[in-house]
Amino acid sequence: MEQFLQQIASGLANGAIYACVALALVMIYVSTDHINFAQGEMAMFSAYISWQLMDWGMSFWVAFILTVLISFAMGVLIERLILRPLHNAPVLSIIVVFIGLLAIFNSMAGAFWSYLIKEFPSPFPKADFGIAGVIGPHQLGVVLVTLIVLGLLFVFFRYTPLGLAMRAAAQNPQMARLVGVRVDWMLALGWGLAASVGAVAGIMVAHIVYLEPNMMGGILLYAFASALVGGISNPAGAVAGGFIVGILENMVAYAGNQIEKATGIYIIGNGEKLTVALIIVIFVLTVKPAGLFGRVVVKRV
């Protein structure tokens, strides 16, 4: 039982990370119809920035906040300088640019900070935090931090005029212009926010997977799966999808272990959890192509 709860808890912690990256993907998808393949590498780069700031002597949370702000600026600049000129370019050109960005961030991180694995600190106190035997301090911290970030984003998009303008610009850019919304800037802000959310994920996961230029590769894949399971155009769905995928992958490994324990036959274990999770994702999408929480778009004419 204790092991079962542990697996759920660590699934929640991983799921929180997937949820953040999935949300970053969805935020860009809803306004541009593109999946930013470089989202993971941008998050990795942000994690390195915060490592660097801490190396220069800043405390974890100061570095955290600074990194989120720097990442925001980085996202805005990428949109303004690189994607804006490609505004009317065919989809394939944009995909190539995303892949290019992925490679650039990866090799820049390698060049600046080397490919050697670095340890990344956890800001959460070792003792008296978390629930003994169920959830560790860092896991609990990750879940709390992501929930706070997601809550802030929800309030921003739901209750502020700027959030409303961003939603309007994503939904109907032409009409948004006709009510005076500066749509181009809304897109850039969306990139900034996505980069910031990604940065939170990168910083939180770096302690778990260690800091190295390829640390986000698998996570981006999980996040993509999460976004698809939740419904690629539904931010809340993407977040739910993140937690579902996080728990699912751990449950797969846990079930495999239990079967092996009971029967002595090895069917699945930790090594196969990604495969099985992705099979389940494909199954979900076959049955519900719009994702669990996505709505099939029906246009009224």
Binding site: P161, L164, A168, Q171, N172, M175, R177, L178, V179, G180
Partner: protein, 237 residues
Amino acid sequence: MAALLEVSGLKAFYGQTQSLYDVGFEIPMGGITTLLGANGAGKTTTLRAICNMVRTDGTIRFDGKNIRGMATEEIVRQRIAHVPEGRGTFTTLTVDENLRIAAYTRKDKQAVKDELERVFVYFPRLKERIQQQAGTLSGGEQQMLAIARALMLKPRLMLLDEPSFGLAPLIVLEIFRILRRINEEEKVSILLVEQNAALALDLATHAYVLETGKVVMSGPSDVVKNDENVRKSYLGY
């Protein structure tokens, strides 16, 4: 009467294709002007050209200031409200959000609140549906929402692209009654593009007739209404 909007030598292009040739007209302050014409004559393009949504050449003066070439969102900030073809509903937003978005640049929250109440005087039905997702409204309600949203911009000039499109005759009459009230009570000048020429000529004080991207006739609505060609081509008698 002084002209609020003066358009002269207006050309418009979609890619390589030119669709307006030397269009010129004037909209008097406080009046209702209509643009008539068959399908493809360039009515919608003219409205889109005013808001810089197509590539243009020529002069467009609003209140004496040349606005041609300004970004769409800046033109809107001069208080020109465009109610586009197809109503431009933000389908996933609520009715309330659809209206508030038009006031998002304004800081004064109380003024926006008052504005909403004033808009609901014209469109009480929208108030009943305030928290409903706008995509679920009927066609007539969405047209009302589009006009209400334009009103939230506190416009001096309202451009309307076929407000009667696809609506039942009774709803159309209701909407045109409201437009007349808006013109009189809010002092909003109106440029109306309509397929329904009889209706448009009743509402408008001035009319321009477009044919294949050129103005072929203009004058007070009464005169245009009685022109033999207009009667045969657009009024059907």
